[in-house]
């Protein structure tokens, strides 16, 4: 992610300064960076190192630093744990659903709202609004709506003689959860796609139309390829978000019924804070970190390489 935002090196320096002045500049750069750097080291790097450190200990989190070294036992236990295997499965399901359902849906809405239709500004705001809500509020809202007994969803559906137990049934909890995630996030992806679409010069679309391309063909052969970089970014954000998914699940189901909607972050919270096995919970967080890191590196290396090298999003890149 960090490689996307180009740092100061992109700023064209004026004609070479004398050595003394250049050194002065370095001193001030370091001075100005220092506060942010100290905070970054204290709040991001140090906790990460401590988490990695404590993941090889058996530790309940009380008093001082851990002392009971157990090597990789926490990791062995994790990789043989049924619940962790389920967590990974849930991750896979949610990632696939996001990529093949949520994102295409957002794209369709974005294309629709790019047309000249009445009140499209209003629609854009309305569809984006759920993203602005906090996850906790969304969670509470939907636990009320999806309540099997008195919730709005069942009251509405009962008109058609249909009802569901939503979050209360192990078989329907994942689709229900995905529904809430989509409600909350499709507006965000829609916004990205809209912005991406508006970067496509209209001449290209017009040229295609003059060549006789129909609506679908224009979309398939002109709009979609040019939206490529935007889509790759939104897939990336979506996957990283899903790996860390926590707040929404915690409020809606707490991971239940009987672990059927549990994610890695929920498992970690459960062991670290409810069960006081901080060493084991740290091991989970280390695996989550590794997973995100490997995915991010591979994805940037193989999928987003072209985007990062220049082509479309090279605004700040070097020639």
């Amino acid at each position: 992610m960090t490689t996307l935002t180009r740092g100061p090196e992109a700023v064209k320096l004026p004609a070479p300064a004398p050595a003394a002045r250049r050194r002065g500049r370095w001193v001030s750069i370091v001075l100005f960076l220092l506060p942010a750097l100290v905070l970054f080291l204290m709040l991001v790097v140090a906790p990460m190192l401590v988490a990695i450190y404590s993941s090889v200990f058996k530790w309940n989190g009380f008093g001082g630093l851990p002392t009971d070294f157990i090597g990789l036992d926490n990791f062995t236990r994790l990789f043989t744990s049924e619940i962790f295997a389920q967590d990974l499965w849930h991750l896979a399901v949610l990632v696939l659903l996001s990529i093949f359902v949520q994102l295409p849906f957002s794209l369709a809405i974005a294309m629709l709202l790019n047309q000249r239709i009445r009140g499209r500004a209003l629609y854009r705001v309305l569809f984006f609004a759920p993203y602005v809500l906090s996850e906790v509020i969304t969670g509470v809202l939907f636990s009320l709506i999806l309540s099997p007994g008195s919730g709005m969803a069942n009251q509405l559906l009962s008109v058609f003689g249909w009802e569901s137990e939503w979050l209360a049934d192990p078989n329907t909890v994942m689709p229900s959860l995905f529904l809430v995630m989509t409600w909350k996030y499709f507006g965000f992806h829609m916004m990205i796609y809209l912005a991406g679409r508006q970067n496509i010069p209209n001449e290209l679309i017009e040229a295609a139309q003059i060549d006789g391309a129909t609506g679908w063909k224009t979309f398939r052969h002109v709009t979609l390829p040019l939206l490529g970089p935007t889509i790759r970014i939104s897939v990336f954000l979506s996957v990283i978000y899903t790996i860390q998914l926590f707040d929404l699940v915690w409020i809606l189901t707490g991971g239940g019924p009987s672990h059927s909607s549990e994610t890695m972050a929920v498992t970690m919270m459960d062991w670290g804070f409810k069960r006081s096995q901080v060493g084991y919970a740290s091991a989970i967080s280390v695996v989550m970190f590794g997973l995100s890191l490997v995915f991010a590196l591979l994805y940037q290396r193989f999928v987003m390489r072209r985007d990062l090298e220049g082509a479309t999003t090279s605004a700040g890149g070097r020639p």
């Binding site: 991001v44 401590v50 989190g61 008093g63 630093l65 939503w166 239940g256 009987s258 670290g272 967080s285």
Partner: protein, 429 residues
């Protein structure tokens, strides 16, 4: 990732730089000769509901009036928030001067971490005033680490009207009679039991009581040390939970239901939509809060005995509350705890219906007929078992909750449940 890592690490970081917050800012105990030096007591508790909230505040004022050099700084938090805050602050190595505790395994962990003061000598003079059941959660290895303010037990709170409708004339005394009554209720078109499946702890009451009745109190105590929950008696308890769950006695969507929300377990009973719930002594007040309330239709009966079981039908399961003292707290902290649990002071809270008697002879102060019944049963209880999620270390307690939830949801067998709990118990070992 970042957020979750930071979450885990924030706590760890707190531990790393222990030192801040929590502890008593006790000045030197006594300024030479003259009046005692000023002392501020940090007091944490979780009585957010009336009448206790204002009653406790009044007592604190009275204590300040009697001891002008003491200022009491109270922090009152709701249940889950309290547990979370206490965990972080104790992980940082500094406990508040006086704080509420349920006793048991969580208290033991705090004692092992050197956060709780042994007050045996300071309270020796008042110990005989307390009922043994109330005191037991705060005594470990013959030492006293706190004084109780509340004690209660879990039992069935039922709707007399709905029982009548199903033709049930008396409360079931045995487990098989209970299962029969559940069938009768179902046949009469009544949802027999409300359960908060999302929160897990209400479900563990069933397994715990059945284990007490079938395997006995000693077996539960022994399991804490030999980490073996696969014994036949424990599996039998699991089979009985399954037998109950197989009757499908719970309300629609119970797996997603919370306890005290507007459509939760408590409200379901309170609004007459289910005939009973297995819950602690606070059930009537939560019911009054969450729904219409049953008024005189609400009744209480103890968990039935199990035929052929090793446990006595008089054994009670539950917990209460109490006050413990932080290691570095000034001596006034102990005085305050003693003050709060004095007969005249404590009985006011009992009279108001906020807590149940912990002192001998306090039963007469209970006004509510249902609570009176609970208090009487408690006073004559043949044995007492603390909530398993408090009695055992947190990891084991939570696993019991988790496993029983899986048993009720039908995703695990009684044998697997025993094995799962044993595995976690061994990891704590």
């Amino acid at each position: 990732m970042k957020r979750s890592l930071v979450l885990a690490a924030a706590v760890i970081l707190l531990t790393g730089c222990s030192g801040g917050g929590g502890g008593g800012e006790a000045a030197p105990q006594q300024s030479s000769g003259g009046a005692p030096a000023k002392v501020t007591l940090e007091w944490w508790h979780l009585s957010t509901a009336e009448p206790l909230k204002s009653l406790w505040a009044q007592r604190a004022k009275e204590f300040e009036a009697k001891n002008p050099h003491v200022t009491i700084k109270a922090t009152v938090l709701e249940n889950e928030a309290y547990k979370a805050k206490l965990t972080t602050i104790t992980q940082s190595g500094k406990a508040p001067d006086v704080f509420a505790s349920w006793g048991g395994g969580v208290l033991k962990q705090q004692i092992d971490a050197g956060l709780v003061k042994d007050i045996s000598a300071d309270v020796a003079d008042v110990l005989p005033n307390f009922t043994p059941a109330a005191l037991s959660a705060y005594q470990l290895d013959g030492k006293t680490y706190g004084l109780p303010t509340d004690i209660g037990m879990v039992g069935f709170w039922y709707n007399k009207k709905l029982f009548e409708k199903a033709g049930i004339t008396e409360a079931p005394a045995t487990w098989s009679a209970f299962l029969e009554d559940v069938k009768k209720l179902k046949a009469a078109g009544v949802t027999p039991i409300a359960l908060a499946g999302k929160e897990k702890w209400p479900g563990h009451y069933y397994w715990a009581y059945l284990a007490m009745r079938i395997a006995g109190l000693d077996a539960l105590k022994q399991a804490a040390s030999d980490h073996d929950f696969t014994k036949p008696d424990f599996v039998a308890a699991g089979q009985q939970v399954k037998a109950l769950a197989d009757l499908q006695p719970f309300q629609k969507g119970f797996l997603g239901a919370a306890y005290s929300t507007p459509d939760g377990q408590s409200a379901t009973v309170s609004n007459g939509k289910a005939a009973m719930e297995l819950m602690g002594q606070w059930a009537p007040s939560v019911q009054a809060d969450s729904g219409k309330g049953l008024g005189d239709d609400l009744g209480f009966f103890a968990f039935p005995s199990v035929e052929g079981g090793k446990g006595s039908a008089g054994d009670a399961f539950g917990g209460g509350g109490g006050l413990t003292v932080g290691t570095d707290a000034p001596k006034e902290a102990v005085d305050f705890v003693k003050f709060m649990t004095e007969m005249g002071n404590h009985s006011k809270a009992v009279e108001a219906g906020g807590v149940l008697p912990v002192l001998k002879g306090e039963e007469s102060a209970v006004k509510d007929p249902n609570l009176k019944q609970v208090a009487t049963m408690l006073a004559s209880a043949s044995g007492y078992q603390l909530y398993l999620d408090q009695a055992y270390p947190p990891a084991v307690g939570q696993q019991v909750n988790d496993s029983v939830a899986e048993l009720i949801a039908g995703t695990k067998t009684p044998e697997e449940v025993g094995a799962d709990i044993s595995e976690v118990a061994k990891s704590e070992g």
